[in-house]
């Protein structure tokens, strides 16, 4: 490679561009007053953090609501997504491309319009509870990611092991449980991680589906972010990262356990 210094500089700029914004966020969450042009504030306080977990801060409520919706959405993804991905990866049939593109459509076409329609449906049905209807909207948004991830792993797996097992007399469920699923675990974890994170960060679908009443974390934070109270927003943002970080750690731990189990078994 000829242009090495240039390359390194560009990557360096990009890295700083990604990383640096986190620093003032942490600083802001521990101070109330931080005038320009000070690089560091002079007075530190934890007021914002105490406000967050007070009743008017609604932090716990937000986390709990987000968690419930994301959990329902993940469940829906698993029930709908795994069979679909499996069928798409293992069968050839007429119109497969059309089916696949319908399943992935929310990635390629802005989905706000269909969520407005769904909200009107839900209003007419009336018996759906806010958690469920919001989770349905989140499933719509996340299903493409999940199906694509699982589909990809199924393609890598191929059908050979299935055929061997079915010749040996295993039924479909046994094949899925003992052959496919263990091989699927890494992409299953990645897909679930994506679903949880994407569901967790939705603002507009949650707002539209619940009419602005189901306070998930993004809905709690948005008004603050618009009002410009830097200290409180920063604290909220860091709080927002906590579950994501936790999920990431769980993801890597599970992945590692899975890998270790596999190497032990192969010994």
């Amino acid at each position: 490679m000829v242009k090495k210094p240039l390359e390194i500089t560009l990557i360096g700029i990009l890295t700083l561009f990604i990383l640096l914004p986190f620093i003032p966020l942490v600083i802001w969450s521990f101070t109330k007053h931080w005038p320009w042009p000070l690089l560091m504030p002079e007075n530190w306080t934890i007021e914002s953090w105490t406000y967050l977990f007070s009743i008017s801060g609604r932090a716990f409520e937000g986390i709990l609501n987000s968690f419930i919706v994301a959990a329902i959405a993940l469940l829906g993804n698993i029930v709908l997504g795994i069979p679909a991905a499996r069928a798409l990866a293992q069968n050839e049939f007429i119109g497969k491309n059309i089916v696949f593109s319908i399943l992935l459509a929310p990635l390629f076409i802005p989905y706000t319009i269909s969520i407005i329609g769904m909200h009107d449906f839900a209003l007419r049905l009336d018996f759906l509870n806010d958690y469920v209807s919001t989770a349905i909207a989140h499933i719509l948004v996340t299903l493409p990611y999940f199906v694509a991830t699982i589909w990809f792993q199924y393609r890598l797996m191929g059908k050979k092991l299935n055929e061997a097992a079915s010749i040996l007399g295993a039924n479909e469920w046994k094949i899925f449980l003992w052959i496919e699923f263990p091989l699927l675990v890494p992409s299953f974890l990645l897909g679930s991680f994506l679903v949880l994170v994407v569901s967790y960060s939705q603002y507009l679908p949650t707002w539209i589906m619940s009419g602005g009443t189901l306070l998930t974390l993004p809905l709690v934070i948005f008004p603050y972010a618009n009002s410009g109270n830097s200290s409180i927003v920063s604290a909220y943002s860091l709080l927002f990262f906590a579950p994501i970080l936790l999920l990431l750690i769980i993801y890597f731990l599970l992945l590692r356990i899975n890998n270790r189990k596999n190497t032990n078994e192969s010994r």
């Binding site: 990009l14 640096l20 042009p37 069979p83 802005p110 706000t112 319009i113 449906f121 618009n226």
Partner: protein, 311 residues
């Protein structure tokens, strides 16, 4: 007697044939729930919203006349066309820029050894961070009184706050562009990096044996194979940026009229009568994305026909 047996045998044969047929289709059954879900909610929901925007009874009773397309007629004005141009322009800019930067970054990462592993982690950080917070993070640093302007002051590059360029709430949407890039470049990298890694390991030696430099390998091998996926990724970014609300709502100035922000404003603040307008705006966005997608698919087919030639 023999006739009865025959009938039984026929029945059994019929049953068996059915079972074989069922078995070959059973694998396909798994698609049904997800397909029905998408058909019902995504396509049905869009269709329902479309109907709401066309046949709004509220408006008919208010005006005393039947004007089914009033919402769309109301959109037929220069200021909305300008909004369309702004939204499409920023979405296209974000898609193309993050596509190019993402590709270059992915190639860079793929050619580096395991010692650079930490870079991957950094480049995956923004994936987990919601757009709402990405917007806020970038406001925090790029504001005129933000952290970067303080650093610039510290180094003596500027003396007054006003000397720092206006990057947030600016007229040209630079802040919006920066915030989207912060989110979407890592997305493109995540999407294409595994493929580039595999392509390089598959083709590098062969290309080198044939006497090509690395940049020639990229131009003649990697890009032609990767093009459909890369362009697909840019389409995803385009469609997302076109329809997303949080970043323009927080970073753009009020004169920067992006459609999602306007539509949500109409939807949430002016009551039911204005809802058809909000839907109509979103219909326009969906149609644009569909058109761009069809164009891309057509171009791809044409490209396959011409033997995957790249420029």
């Amino acid at each position: 007697m023999s006739n009865g047996l025959n009938e039984d045998g026929l029945k059994m044969w019929e049953k068996n044939r059915l079972r074989v047929q069922l078995n070959s289709y059973k694998g396909l059954l798994g698609i049904l729930p997800a397909l029905l879900f998408m058909l019902f909610f995504f396509i049905g929901g869009s269709f329902h919203a479309l109907c709401l925007s066309i046949g709004s009874s509220h408006q008919i009773s208010l005006l005393g006349e039947e004007d089914l397309l009033w919402a769309y007629k109301e959109l037929m004005n220069p200021s909305f066309f300008q909004s369309v141009a702004v939204s499409v322009g920023i979405a296209a800019a974000v898609a193309v820029l993050s596509g190019i930067i993402g590709l270059l970054t992915a190639i860079f990462l793929a050619t580096k050894s395991a010692r650079w592993k930490w870079l991957h982690i950094i480049f995956q950080l923004p994936i987990g961070i919601p757009h709402l917070l990405a917007a806020y993070l970038l406001i925090q640093v790029f504001m005129q009184s933000g952290w970067y302007s303080r650093i610039a002051y510290y180094f003596g590059w500027i003396d007054k706050l006003e000397e720092f360029p206006v990057l947030v709430h600016d007229e040209w949407g630079i802040g919006v562009l920066l915030a989207y890039m912060w989110k979407e470049v890592p997305f493109i990298v995540l999407l294409i990096y595994p493929f580039i890694l595999k392509l390089i390991s598959d083709w590098r030696d062969q290309a080198r044996a044939l006497g090509s430099t690395f940049s020639q390998t990229v131009r003649w091998v990697i890009i032609p194979i990767l093009l459909p996926m890369w362009v697909g990724g840019m389409w995803v970014v385009f469609a997302f940026t076109l329809g997303a609300y949080e970043i323009p709502a927080l970073i753009a100035s009020t004169s920067f009229r992006s459609i999602p922000v306007e539509a949500f404003h109409e939807y949430s603040q002016f009551g039911l009568e204005r809802q058809p307008i909000a839907i109509a705006m979103n219909v326009v966005l969906a149609v644009i994305s569909l058109l761009v997608g069809s164009l891309l698919i057509y171009m791809q087919m044409d490209w396959y026909k011409r033997g995957r030639r790249v420029w």
